[in-house]
Amino acid sequence: MDTVSDVPYIVEATGLTKEFKGFAAVKNVDLRIRRNTIHALIGPNGAGKTTCFNLITKFLEPTRGTIRLNGRDITRTPPADVARLGMVRSFQISATFPHLTVVDNVRIALQRPMGNSFHFWKSESSLDSLNERAMALLADVDLTTYADHLAVELPYGRKRALEIATTLALDPEMLLLDEPTSGMGREDIARTADLIRRVSKNRTILMVEHNLSVVADLSDTITVLARGEILTEGPYAEVSKNPQVIEAYMGTGGAH
């Protein structure tokens, strides 16, 4: 099927709703992400941000609503196929392959487009051609020295960097980052923000982020979610002055 790649919005979610046993975690959310922008999704704890991510990437089936990626309806597409269409997510809790080496973590992502992933009769040396690119991706996030460590041995901030490197290995058109700087120290945060800005060239990024200075710094558009509903949407200067937003944050003890 043809995709309409000249629509201004890469992702269009309409009337997105997710109910967990009657409790609506996400209510009637309309979210449109403009191509080649950085779009932030913020809101207090439990607002439904991660649920939105899970819906858009099809890790959860929406109760109601439709999702389009590049104009193509993906409401019933399985999550692995969504990834193959060029939309790749990260997870709120660091998601590496803990007992694979750092370089193997990245190679797993690189391997997928090779089309040999069911070849159980082939030697693993057929994956050696990926080493160079894997090392280049690791160098991009300053992980070269850790290449042969198991991912589980990495400090937390470095795990998140590895996750981003793994995601970037697929060269996705659309990237969803769930709290990419959470649990990081000041230095790692700056480094990660820098990396996100760097990789946002020719890419669309949707990120959930609690660190408002990172949000202010990076995002073109901000959507504020509270109790599963969109409160407001706009550039940082506008959104941050919105009394409802201030109230939503104060009301639940503020952002982190």
Partner: protein
């Protein structure tokens, strides 16, 4: 045990693959020992160990390298045994055809069972496989061609490929050794293939693997079918050794035994299932006179192994070795 005050014990899967060269050398030495072993040890006993070792290795492909606990592998072991025995004894085919039929049947059964079970996670997966295996057990109990309580006895040992006389134990021994080495190499290659890498990734973090575009269930299904087929190879080979296929081979105890062997030896290690199988089979042989007590003793060993050596015997050895090795590298 002396533990370092500063570092925690290495994680279970610091099971970094030993260097391939060393492993190959070790493999050659092991095969050399196995070539002369029947002159010192009763060959039927060694063949039994090899059949169960292959069974456990095939099971470990699923448990250790895919992270799926099947509690119904007896259906593949015993199912293949019945088909192999029937093909040879009743239909009159030669042994190699019997083995192929057994393997093909196990693979097919694996595909069916896999399609039903693979969507379930964790304990639900184990329960579905157990339920299917129980259904298969009752089918075998009722079906006329399995010989009911008697099983299929006296399966003839016709010449293999019409050439090799396997009626003598010592000859059959080398055939079984060849089958075992073949099965082991298939498993080893699978683990170290592009497919094996994806399997490990799915075992480590399935949602992440999916988010990278891997349709996890398809990989698990292929692993399940491979494991079932190799289990069928073990079950068919057992028929040649004992000239018998019986209900014991499809009973749930058989499914339990292979879990035991794999855990005692060390799941997720290449050699663990072999060691575990050797230990359990040896024990059964020596304690055979004790009757039902064997089960009790097995239970005690299982509890002891699981609480003392959580990584199994081989897993613990690997952990200790890599602990000292990394200790030397980083003073």
């Amino acid at each position: 045990m002396s533990t370092s005050p500063t570092t925690a014990a290495p994680p279970a899967a610091t099971v970094r693959t030993p260097r391939t060269g060393m492993l190959a050398l070790f493999g050659i030495a092991a095969v050399a020992v196995m070539l002369v072993a029947p002159f010192g040890v009763y060959p039927v006993f060694l063949m039994k160990v090899m059949c169960f070792a292959l069974f456990a290795c095939a099971f470990n492909l699923l448990l250790g390298y895919t992270g799926l606990l099947s509690f119904g592998h007896a259906m593949f072991f015993g199912g293949a045994a019945y088909i192999c025995a029937h093909t040879i004894k009743v239909l009159g085919f030669s042994p190699e055809i019997g083995i192929l039929a057994g393997v093909a049947f196990a693979a097919f059964l694996g595909l069916l069972a896999g399609l039903l079970a693979i969507r379930r996670q964790g304990i639900y997966f184990a329960m579905v496989t157990l339920a299917l295996a129980q259904m298969f057990f009752f089918f075998c109990l009722q079906a006329p061609f399995t010989g009911g309580e008697d099983g299929l006895q006296g399966v003839p040992r016709r010449p293999l490929f019409g050439l090799i006389d396997i009626s003598k134990d010592i000859n059959l021994y080398y055939v079984v050794l060849a089958i075992f080495v073949f099965g082991f190499l298939v498993i080893y290659r699978t683990i170290h293939s592009p497919f094996g890498h994806v399997l490990k990734a799915i075992r480590e973090n399935e949602p992440r693997a999916i988010s990278l575009g891997y349709r996890a269930n398809q990989y698990k299904l292929l692993a399940f079918v491979l494991s079932a087929a190799l289990t069928g190879l073990a079950g068919s080979t057992k028929v040649l050794v004992f000239q018998l296929a019986s209900l014991t081979d499809v009973a749930w105890q058989m499914s339990g035994e292979v879990v035991l062997m794999t855990l005692v030896g060390g799941m997720g290690t290449i050699l663990g299932p072999i060691v575990g199988a050797a230990i359990i089979v040896t024990m059964q042989n020596y304690l055979a006179g004790l009757g039902e007590w064997v089960l009790v003793i097995q239970g005690v060993i299982f509890v002891a192994a699981v609480s003392l050596f959580r990584r199994g015997i081989v897993g613990e050895i690997i952990a200790i070795v890599s602990y000292y090795r990394s200790g030397k590298q980083q003073p």
